[in-house]
Every structure is written in structure tokens, then in C-alpha cells.
């Protein structure tokens, strides 16, 4: 045997040893821990929302564990989450889901951030029959694929801004409006767009600008120039955090006057803080707001959650964090009702979930989406230099009246 062959054999056996030692997967329930798996965007274009998601998960895990954990068959268990970084990349996310299930032996999954990544992970969890409670994949097409192990605590994406169009029509004296819209090329934003298309059809409104914007939205000046020229009644923009920031920045720079501006991700982008008065009057779709009157025994009310979250992480929780925390509450509830660690039993328990959390009521429809909770709209309003998000719709929770139309830039101080 020559040197090269020896070297080769040594190399191969080293790898074999390394891999086989890594394969020793630990079980779904490890001692007193129930192990959940999650691929989260810690880097890449969704990194800020990925961190909101992770913070939401962590806060809930800590809280549930501190308050006695999960009781299954008379024994107390604690939650533990294995995280990987999916880099905001669907390819990576699918791979990590396989890895969590096959190598780490995870039997229950938490969702990633964004619809695109959830779409990539869902086929994998479905294949291995792993129940996944996800809090950040709102695309409608997730719920029409007949997935049986996917549960989403949020309302589907097409509902995000539909209400805004109704509101615009109402303000227009019931007459159809002219809509300008610009959406990022991604699964979530495109679904929001479909919702607008539906609403436009329903109200007979006309869509005069329908732009698609690139991912990692940093510039939408071309769309805004068109808006300036055509003067629509409503401008709708959706493109995650960067989309919201870019829109406000450029609308203010270009002094675009439009009676109504409807967006998503205002709170995740901390618009009212980052852009202050420039962001005033923006109408935003949200899954949750701290002023809503829901409560549970772990986090108390939305206001209490807001306070605890601020204390822990130093910023006000966007709805992405709130819904992520709620996902853990759903899992806890399901484990206790199933009283078992069997995947299918847990899944059946999830299916019959009906509960109230600080984040809202949760009940899953046939496709896995949450049907018990409406979307809300808030508007950024400023007093002096401090700006806040005020709920304006639906009327049940509205703390302020919807301000319409937005004053022209020339009249704004």
C-alpha cells in the first residue's frame, strides 16, 4: 500500500467517524426538555424580522418554563429550541429543516420568518409528519396545499390590506377609488397584492399603477414619480421592513402627496421611531396591537407583554414577536391536551385548538390558518415629536379616528 492510498483511507475513515458520531440524534424529548426546532433568518435580507421572531420565541420559552413548564402525563417538562440560521434563503431553510428532523431528531417545529421560507420548509415537515406551528408565514397559498401538519397563528396575507381599500371607498363616499400599488417580488407581498386585487374587484375600483419591485427594496423612486403624475386615491406598498422604510423615506424626499398611504411592516420597521413625523398618517396592517383587549395567564394583557418585552430586549415588540410568542403558547396547550408526545396525537390536539392568548384568539381552519382573529389597521399619529401607532380599525378596538385625507406636504410643518 502506498502513501497516497494510506492517506486516502485515513481521510475517509476520519470523515466516517466524524459523521457517525454526529448522527447520534437525541430524542424529541430530552430528559426534562421538549426540544423544538427552528430555522430563523439571523442573517440576510430578513435578518431584522428574524431576530424579532427569535426574541418572541425566546421570551415565551423563558416565561413558560418559569411558570411551571408543560405538564404531560403528570410530569413537568421545559421547552428548548434548537436554532439554525437560514440566511433568508429558501434553499437553506429546506435543508435545515431536513437537518433538524434527521440529525437533531426534532419532532416538533416552529416556523421561520416569511412566507417564502415557510413554503420551503412545509413540504419537508409534511413529509416527515412533523407538526409545525408557524407564526410568520401568511401567504394564502400555504393554506391551499392541503398541508396537514402546518398551523399558522396568523391571518392569511391577502387579508392584510383588503380592509384599507374598503376604508378608502368609504371615505370616498362609497364610490370606487383609483389605486396605485407597488409590491416586492416575494411570496408574502405578492399575496397582499392578490388581496388588493380582490378588494378592487369587489368595490369596482381601478388599479392605475401596479408595480413589482425587486427584493431587498432600496429604491422605488420610479413608482413614486408615476404616483406624483397620476394622483391616485390610495397608494399601497408592501415589501417587508425595508419596503416600509424605503417608501417613507422616498415619499418624504420627493414630497409625494397622496390622500391615503397603506403599508405593511410599519411596526417591525419601527417607522414611528426611525422616521418620526415623516411617517405620520401612514396606515398599517398589523396582526396585533398592544391595546387589544385579549389576555392569557402567561403574558397577561398586550400592554403587559409590551412592557415585559421592552424590559428584556430594549424595544417595543412588533407583531412578529407577539405572534411568535403565541406559537409557543399554542404548542404548550396542544401538548397538555394531547397528554402525549406522539406526533400525530399532538397534531390532532393542534387541530382542535381553541384558545385565547394575549395576541388574540386562536382557532385553526381546515387549511391550518388562524380563522379566529381579525387583522387590524393602525395609523401613525404624532404629538409634537413623539409618534405612536393608533388603532383605527376595526371599530371595536379603535382608539383614534382614522385621519383622512393626508395633508399635503406643503401644509405639513
Amino acid at each position: 500500500m502506498n502513501k497516497f492510498t494510506k492517506l486516502f483511507i485515513t481521510f475517509i475513515s476520519a470523515i466516517t467517524l466524524m459523521l457517525s458520531s454526529m448522527s447520534s440524534s437525541f430524542a424529541k424529548v430530552d430528559g426534562e426538555y421538549i426540544v423544538l426546532g427552528a430555522a430563523i433568518s439571523l442573517t440576510g435580507k430578513y435578518s431584522s424580522n428574524g431576530v424579532h421572531t427569535q426574541n418572541g420565541y425566546n421570551l415565551a420559552v423563558e416565561r413558560i418554563n418559569k411558570m411551571g413548564g408543560v405538564e404531560v402525563q403528570g410530569k413537568k417538562y421545559k421547552f428548548e429550541i434548537i436554532y439554525y440560521d437560514d440566511e433568508s434563503n429558501p434553499k437553506r431553510a429546506a435543508q435545515l429543516a431536513e437537518r433538524l428532523i434527521n440529525q437533531d431528531g426534532v419532532k416538533y417545529m416552529l416556523g421561520p420568518y416569511s412566507s417564502g421560507l415557510t413554503k420551503a420548509i412545509a413540504p419537508v415537515t409534511e413529509k416527515y409528519k412533523i407538526p409545525m406551528v408557524e407564526a410568520n408565514g401568511a401567504s394564502r397559498s400555504l393554506f391551499t396545499k392541503g398541508y396537514k401538519y402546518l398551523f399558522a397563528v396568523l391571518s392569511p396575507a391577502n387579508q392584510y390590506l383588503e380592509v384599507a381599500i374598503d376604508l378608502a371607498v368609504e371615505k370616498n363616499g362609497g364610490k370606487p377609488v383609483r389605486i396605485a400599488q407597488a409590491f416586492e417580488q416575494d411570496a408574502f407581498s405578492q399575496d397582499v397584492r392578490l388581496g388588493i386585487l380582490d378588494a378592487a374587484k369587489r368595490t369596482g375600483s381601478e388599479i392605475i399603477i401596479d408595480d413589482k419591485l425587486p427584493k431587498e427594496l432600496n429604491d422605488m423612486a420610479a413608482t413614486l414619480a408615476k404616483v406624483k403624475a397620476t394622483k391616485p386615491d390610495v397608494l399601497v406598498v408592501s415589501g417587508h421592513t425595508k419596503g416600509a422604510l424605503t417608501a417613507i423615506r422616498q415619499i418624504a424626499e420627493m414630497k409625494v402627496d397622496v390622500p391615503m398611504l397603506a403599508m405593511t411592516h410599519c411596526d417591525a420597521a419601527k417607522l414611528s421611531k426611525q422616521h418620526g413625523k415623516k411617517s405620520e398618517y401612514a396606515l398599517c396592517a398589523s396582526q396585533w396591537h398592544k391595546n387589544l383587549s385579549y389576555k392569557d395567564s402567561f403574558f397577561g394583557t398586550g400592554k403587559k407583554y409590551d412592557k415585559d418585552f421592552k424590559k428584556e430586549f430594549g424595544y417595543a415588540p412588533p407583531y412578529q414577536s407577539a405572534e411568535s410568542s403565541a406559537a409557543l403558547l399554542v404548542f404548550k396547550d396542544a401538548f397538555e391536551r394531547a397528554n402525549s408526545f406522539d406526533g400525530d396525537k399532538v397534531r390532532d390536539a393542534l387541530k382542535t385548538t381553541e384558545m385565547q392568548t394575549f395576541y388574540g384568539n386562536i382557532k385553526f381552519g381546515p387549511g391550518g390558518q388562524n380563522t379566529a382573529k381579525p387583522m387590524i389597521l393602525f395609523q401613525v399619529r404624532c404629538k409634537g415629536d413623539t409618534c405612536e401607532n393608533k388603532v383605527v380599525a376595526p371599530t371595536k378596538w379603535a382608539s383614534d379616528k382614522f385621519y383622512h385625507p393626508i395633508p399635503k406636504w406643503s401644509e405639513r410643518s
Binding site: 475517509i12 448522527s23 435543508q95 397559498s141 405578492q190 399575496d191 413589482k212
Partner: protein, 354 residues
Amino acid sequence: MDKVNQKDLILYSGLIILGLAAPFLFPGFKVQLTILCVLIVLAMTWNLQGGEMGYNTFGNILFYGLGMYLTASVQVGMFFPLAEWTESGGEKTFVHTTSQYFQGMGVGLLVAALVPTIIAGAIGYAILGLRGHYFAICTLGLGIAAGEIAGGIEIIGAGQGFTTPPFPKDIVDPGARGDFFYFLSFVLLIGTFVFIKWIYGSRFKLILNAIRDNEDKAEAMGIQTMKYKIVGWMVSAFFAGLAGGIMGGLIGYIDSTDVAFDGREMGVFMVLMAILGGKGTLWGPVIGATLFHFLKEGFWTLILGWQYVALGVLIVVIVIYFPEGLMGWLREKYPERFGEVIDEKDRKAQVELK
């Protein structure tokens, strides 16, 4: 059979046995192994241009992405209306039967191999006249443009992405899907390797090298360089298209810029792997891709959050200490084992000439 061949035989059969046994030895790593096969194929095909021909292309990702979309589209389109499948929010769910799934996959892969090859021929005819940086920049544009265009075509899902058909439900064994894609990619790997090894023994490779070393001189020698450049690129496109088709099925969800025309990751990785292993060698890309994949997966597990920093440091180290790649370094260190083999007959012929 002489001695050298026998040694090769042991090596090859060893590797093939290892490849066949791998999914059973490490059942948990099937996906990573499948991706490894695809990465090796991509590195080897890139090496044909970047290493042998001296044309640093960033455009091979175009064929990979095309292959991915084509396979999935054919697989769906053969049995169901494609537009309804991709239309988001469609209430209908289409389910492939087992035979439909595999038939679709087979035809899809065939298309995924042929169409990119033809496109490579057409584009190659147009742009392979460019040299050096101009060619690199032009091909970089190709990949980016393709991603943006695909993101606007409704029938393949546009920005919504394209969910590829799920693996047939009738096959109950959850490991079957992994096995299927692993062996598919392994067969592709062997096919690619055998073909490229054959090229390495042919006059074709020498012509590519002549183009790399001095294109004008090659032309002066009467070689129609354009023809060979185009054929070379078509070969790469053929295998890259197949690789894309397999990856699309494996991932299960195609996004225009993040999965299919993923120039930022795959497009750069294939260059990096070839350089890491040593471009312009047969084994370089294989070793490079394997090492790269292992390191990358390792970084991701061990130093979460710092993986890209580690990868960056690795690249710097490679460029400084192994500018010729691992194979290049080995060649310099052990020329008797890894150096260029000069055919005995050839040498004798030269001696006789004196």
C-alpha cells in the same frame, strides 16, 4: 492493464462503493450528500470554462436555474394546467400519481438538459467573442437578468415562487425521497465525471488549454477557437441544467433569485470550489467541492452567526497560501505523484526526433 490503471481502478471502485453505501451509512445526511454531488458537478463544469479554457464565467448559474424551472414546469405541465398550479391562492390541489411523478421528472430532466445546451450554444455564439473581464461581467449580467425576468413570469409563479410537485404519497417510506434524489444526483455525478475525464484524454482539452494559454496563437495554428469555446460551454450547460433539475425537486420550492438563479451563492460557490481545489485539474473541483461543503456545513453548526466570517477567512487563507488550489499545491509538493503525466510513447517519439 498496466500498473497505473490498476491503481486507478482501485480508487474508482472504492469511491463508487463509498458513494453507493453513503446514504445507508449516514442516513441522516442524505440531503447534504445529494447537495455535495450537485456541487461537485457544478464545480467540474465551471472548471471546463474557468480552469481549462480561461474564461471566467459567472453565467453557468443561468443553466442551473433554467434546468430547475424547466424540470418543474414540465413535470407539472405534462399532467395539469401549469398556470393553475402556480397561481397563488388557487383553491385546487393537484396530486401527481407515482407514475406521473417519475414520468414527469424523467421528461423534465431531459428537457432540462437539452434546452440549456441549446441556449448555451446561442448565447455562446453571441458573447464568447468577449475576452477576460468583459466576458466575466457579461455573464454575471446574464444570471442576474435571468433571475429578474423569471421573477416576472406569472406562469412559473413569478415572485410567489414555484412549489414543485410533492413526492408521491403512495410511497410511504419517508426515506425514499432522499434515496431517490441522492442516487439521481450520484448518477449525474458519475456521468459528469466520466464525460469530463474522457475530455481530459482528448484533443478537445488540449485545444481548450491552447485557448487559455494564448487564444491568438491558437487561432494562428488554424484552430477554430469559437467553435470549441461554444461546444465547451454547451457541455457545461448540459450538466448544469441536469443539476438544477435535481436540486429543484430536492428543495421543493423554487424562488427566482434565491434558489434558481442564485448567482450570489451557487454562482459564486462553484467558482470558489474550483479555485479551492485547483482549477485546471480533473480532481481539483471534486476535492474543492467536497472540502468546501464539509467546511461550510461545519461552520454553520459550530459557529452560528460567524459562518460567513469564517468562510471569508478561509477564502483569504486559500488565496494567500494555496493560490493554485489544493491540487496545485500537491502538484508542486509531490510532482512525481500528482504532476502532469507525460505519455511514455510521446516522450520516446520526441527522443527519436532528435
